[in-house]
């Protein structure tokens, strides 16, 4: 389209100096941590919780909650960006990086170039392998020093902060390596396959 119409009298609330370079286009900073999910929060007790890696249909590794807690832990301070247009700066997470999981599974390298992350509640989302490795992503179990609350994805959620936050699947249980990129839950419903906030890839075709 050509020139957008000017909203007479609209000034908006500009970001403070210093934040400008940290907030992607079309986003605004919030101090809250909004909850967005498509259905009820799953109840997963830690006794029955596990996280597994699959190569296609073949299980490669599985960790119980105790096993998982025994893996090398990493802390991250990152900004997160939700497709519904809020961003939250300087959030603190702790968990196990995908690099560590691949190592612990005894894989010398990721078996394919794409993944599907599967969660309790039938949620799934697709992410290229290169966006998960080299310290770019983790399975997080703690937020701001505390165990991750169920409504925010606890006991464990994926954290891929450089993509829109729907990619950081709550209640994550399984990382599946797949040969080709396939759409997950929101991606089938019209959201972008990749979801880079800096390129404003909100919906299919963006």
């Amino acid at each position: 389209m050509t020139q957008p119409p000017i909203s007479r009298g609209f000034r908006g609330r500009r970001p403070d100096d210093g934040r400008t370079g940290r907030v992607p286009p079309g986003q605004h900073v919030t101090r809250d941590f909004p909850v967005l999910s498509a259905g009820p929060t799953p109840e997963t007790d830690l006794e029955n919780w596990s996280f597994s890696l699959y190569d296609g249909d073949r299980a490669v590794a599985e960790w119980s909650w105790a096993d998982f807690a025994g893996l090398p832990q990493t802390s991250l301070k990152v900004d997160i960006h939700c497709v519904t247009s809020w961003s939250k700066l300087d959030t603190h997470w702790q968990g196990v990086t995908i690099d560590t999981l691949i190592d612990a599974a005894g894989l010398s390298e990721p078996p394919t170039s794409f993944t599907m992350i599967h969660s309790d509640g039938d949620y799934r989302t697709n992410i290229p392998v290169e966006d998960l490795i080299d310290g770019k992503a983790m399975v997080a179990t703690r937020y701001e020093g505390d165990p991750l609350a169920p409504e925010h994805g606890g006991p464990a959620r994926l954290l891929v902060p450089h993509l829109y936050f729907w990619k950081s699947a709550k209640w994550a249980r399984r990382l599946q390596f797949i040969p080709n990129d396939e759409p997950g839950f929101w991606e089938e419903l019209g959201y972008h396959m990749y979801g880079d906030p800096w390129r404003e890839q909100r919906y299919a075709g963006d």
Partner: protein, 254 residues
């Protein structure tokens, strides 16, 4: 080839369209509905939302998501906006916008929190405050389609004056076509009030008389605390979790 693959490769970018404000309806002291003319609007399904983008004189832009409150059968797109204290976009839309003003909008977006008469029922809606908006699109669609699918709305508002669409909901219920509305007021009730007088809780949901055996399609929309607790109670009452769909209106919708 799976159908989804075809769909996705064929998807075009959702275009920003210019919406012109027609009528403005004062729904409550804090809530207004904007009746929009959107040339080229491709139509929507009840429950879907749009992104609204405002542009200031110097080019600064801000965008937010809002549910569509109108039925697909309507010739206009209606957005119902609650003014949020300090809300960058909502305070403008709910206070400053006048008939004839224009802003950008794109959509419809979302295909999960959606109900049409073709999906069937019974339909069970739970709303808190301005979370009624996408559920109203479903009820307006149901009425426009002359459907008699049983539908029940449990609607929580702070006070009687805060009930959005109150008269329209009364009119819809008066059609005696299988729709019933139950209100609850959490802060203050007028004298002689016969509805609920507390927050939505387990016993309120249990006593509505909608059995899990009927497998109602459940849509819950409102503030996070209401959505979290109502979804949990309904799950405890035996409703299948995959029939419970949720959408949340938080303060950052502002």
């Amino acid at each position: 080839m799976p159908e989804t693959e075809i769909d996705i490769s064929a998807r075009k970018r959702l275009a920003w369209r210019v919406a012109e404000v027609g009528k403005i309806i004062d729904e409550t002291p804090r809530v207004k509905s904007l009746v929009l003319d959107v040339p080229g609007w491709p139509g929507h399904r009840p429950g879907q939302h749009v992104d609204v983008r405002l542009t200031a004189e110097d080019g600064y832009q801000a965008q937010r998501s809002y549910s569509v409150a109108s039925a697909p059968e309507s010739t206009h797109v209606i957005l119902t906006i609650e003014r949020i204290e300090g809300g960058e976009v909502s305070s403008y839309l709910a206070s400053d916008v006048q008939a004839g003003d224009k802003f950008e909008l794109r959509g419809p977006i979302g295909g999960y929190f959606v109900w049409t008469v073709a999906i069937g029922g019974p339909l069970f809606l739970v709303a808190g405050g301005s979370g009624i908006a996408p559920l109203m699109a479903m009820l307006r669609h149901r009425a426009a389609a002359q459907s008699t699918i049983p539908a029940l709305l449990l609607y929580s508002s702070r006070t009687f004056e805060d009930i959005i669409y109150r008269e329209e909901l009364d009119r819809l219920a008066a059609r005696s076509d299988g729709f019933k509305v139950v209100h609850t007021l959490t802060r203050r009730q007028p004298s002689g009030w016969t509805g609920g007088a507390r927050r939505i809780d387990h016993s309120m949901l249990a006593n509505l008389g909608l059995s899990a055996n009927a497998r109602p399609r459940i849509f819950i929309c409102g503030p996070t605390s209401l959505v979290e607790s109502a979804a949990q109670y309904l799950s405890d009452l035996g409703h299948e979790r995959n029939l419970i769909k949720t959408e949340r209106f938080g303060p950052t919708g502002g």
